[in-house]
Symmetry: C2
């Protein structure tokens, strides 16, 4: 029903290619014809079909952003930053939410593949090998995960976890718990690795509880386990779980921070609103969104049509991997360890579920840069 380029051509008495030029290269067309064409287009309500255009040019000027859970307040700052950065470069961002479901994740990549020039995969739950496979279908930038051979933007949660644990050690805590995140989460794995190491080297005992859904409910449901573990301090996979845990503990009559200290991760806006205000590891989410867009668009010349098939195109995009720094924000949910019996460490660190299926190798890659620098 909408008017096509042909309708406009007919109405303004020119060839369709002139109409095309009027929109995609106005300077190449006589000012007089241009105004006539524009007038007819306006009249007919004509709009270039971006999908058809993309079929030829190979550029949609859209970016896909796939998110594990749009309801998690961790993501909006990242989304907004990505949108704003994309907008500056004349791109639009389409967001999709997978509900933490790896299958939906894969489907969405396929659904988006040909409607966007690239996809930012944020906190993916699928396997590394699948990610690599999908990256052959559409350019991918991976956020919150390390996949060798692909551009990645990571936040240094390992460093954050170390800072958090050290903070707790400083406060005299010796029996700690870590609430781990979802299975398949690279972040959760990094976190666990680093927290275990930091606790061990500080001579503290650390119990890992999980995996868990990264939600408030997930945290609240762990209150009883935390009590039975007889720990005096807890590091949670994210702020949402930390806040849920505090609620849950409250319901059991356990006070934070007097009885138990709690540290979150992310520094979402909400963490400043709850009582007590949450001590947490701030992750640079906005910077991550911006950086990911930059990395995607960096080498995106988009020349896909025509002669390129013959192979002269330099496909060698430098796959940078960026590690963004985190920092500890101390607020009111942590306090000196109480002086009761709980605080004598017993057994060594307990880690029931090492979740090996999600990373490429131990530790950080040699290629990783530190800081939020990326060529733009």
């Amino acid at each position: 029903m909408p008017a096509t380029i042909r309708d406009v051509a007919r109405a303004s008495g020119v060839h369709i290619s002139t109409v095309s030029r009027t929109f995609s290269a106005p300077h190449l067309v006589n000012p007089e014809t241009r105004v006539r064409v524009l007038a007819c287009a306006e009249e007919l309500g004509y709009r270039p079909n971006r999908a058809a255009r993309a079929l030829i040019t190979g550029r949609t000027h859209n970016i896909g952003l796939i998110i594990a859970d749009i309801a998690n307040p961790f993501f909006p700052p990242l989304i907004k930053a990505a949108e704003s950065q994309a907008r500056h470069r004349d791109y639009h961002v389409f967001v999709a939410d997978t509900n933490e479901d790896p299958v939906a994740e894969e489907e969405l990549v396929h659904a988006m593949a040909k409607q966007v020039d690239g996809v930012l995969l944020c906190s993916p739950r699928m396997s590394n090998s699948l990610i690599e496979q999908l990256s052959r279908e559409v350019p991918l930038v991976v956020i919150n995960r390390q996949v060798t051979g692909l551009p990645c933007v990571m936040m240094d949660v390992a460093q954050g976890a170390r800072l958090a644990i050290e903070h707790l050690l400083d406060l005299g805590h010796r029996k700690l718990a870590l609430l781990s995140g979802p299975r398949g989460s690279w972040t959760s794995r990094e976190l666990r690795r680093s927290a275990v190491a930091a606790a061990r080297s500080g001579g503290a005992e650390l119990t890992v509880l999980g995996p868990n859904p990264p939600t408030e409910t997930g945290g609240a449901g762990l209150a009883d386990q935390v009590r039975r573990a007889e720990v005096t301090a807890v590091l949670a996979y994210n702020d949402l779980m930390a806040i849920g845990l505090i609620e849950g503990l409250d319901a059991l009559g356990i006070r934070v921070p007097q009885d138990v200290s709690v540290v979150g991760i992310d520094d979402i806006a909400l963490s400043r609103l709850t009582r007590p205000k949450l001590t947490t590891v701030a992750t640079p989410t906005a910077a991550a969104g911006r950086t990911a867009v930059d990395m995607l668009l960096q080498h995106d010349t988009g020349v896909r049509a025509r002669g390129v098939r013959n192979g002269t195109s330099d496909d060698r995009r430098t796959t940078a991997q960026v590690m963004l720094q985190t920092e500890l924000v101390i607020r009111d949910s942590t306090a000196p360890a109480p002086l009761d019996g709980r605080n004598r460490p017993g057994a060594a660190c307990t880690d029931p579920d090492p979740d090996p299926h999600c990373t490429a190798g131990p530790g950080h890659p040699a290629t990783a840069t530190t800081g939020d620098v990326v060529a733009s």
Copy 2:
């Protein structure tokens, strides 16, 4: 670089149309050839190009969802519900966030137009006439707004406001304030109209403060104005503003609900987490998301290609307008009016800014149904 249908045809020794059928109408192709084709496709990593397919079929199997502010916790339940409903009908949802910016809103509709089969416009800030114009480019369902001639899903905030005001009147409040929402918001206008009427008919005085950004910061910034207005109760445009206001009042030493009662709108998850827990008008956001998807897909036969141009297609989609019910949830942020001087009503209702540019006419349309029924 990715394999095309032609590559697969060549590899499997059949014509491209056979490959096409293998994917879009498998039953029409000989099982033996089918497996061969499928094998080659797998081998080459072939995936049908959905954009090219859509160019012919007229169906993308995608839905666009345009949201005023993805960081507002009001939206995620709506988004999730829409996604889940879409998924059941084999559709994907692409979300975009406009940052409350009408210009971005329009741009996004254009950007999405040909990549989706329809757009859900949620809480639009643009003008009615522009919405109507855009609806000629792509099928539109409008959420949280009434636009004559277009399918709309609305929440009965007018009723909610009345319930809220009556609740406050019952508690003895006679000097009230309304924190209005953003300019251009249909909801804000409905809210104001209804609140003013309810206050007047209850013999109370109501001061309208605004327009305001619908955020926590927006609410916090109004604390001083609220104090100077010497009111004993406040109805806020949404929960975020209500929570912000409570924070702001707290900073001024004004206690909620002892000194001032506060009512929000939306019943976001957060409203149960703050202290005091928020009294609020619950809006059926998930139902709205589901309903909007249903309405969009209802008549979506998607036949746009080929013969349809000759005009026999019955384009007469019944444009239902659905009004969903709201309800008052009483928690801890409202209490009986304090017995001090403030509570004697003085002047009549004050409404400094009637914001006329956003609605079609006064009151609810005759066509509006009540309840969440919509033919599916």
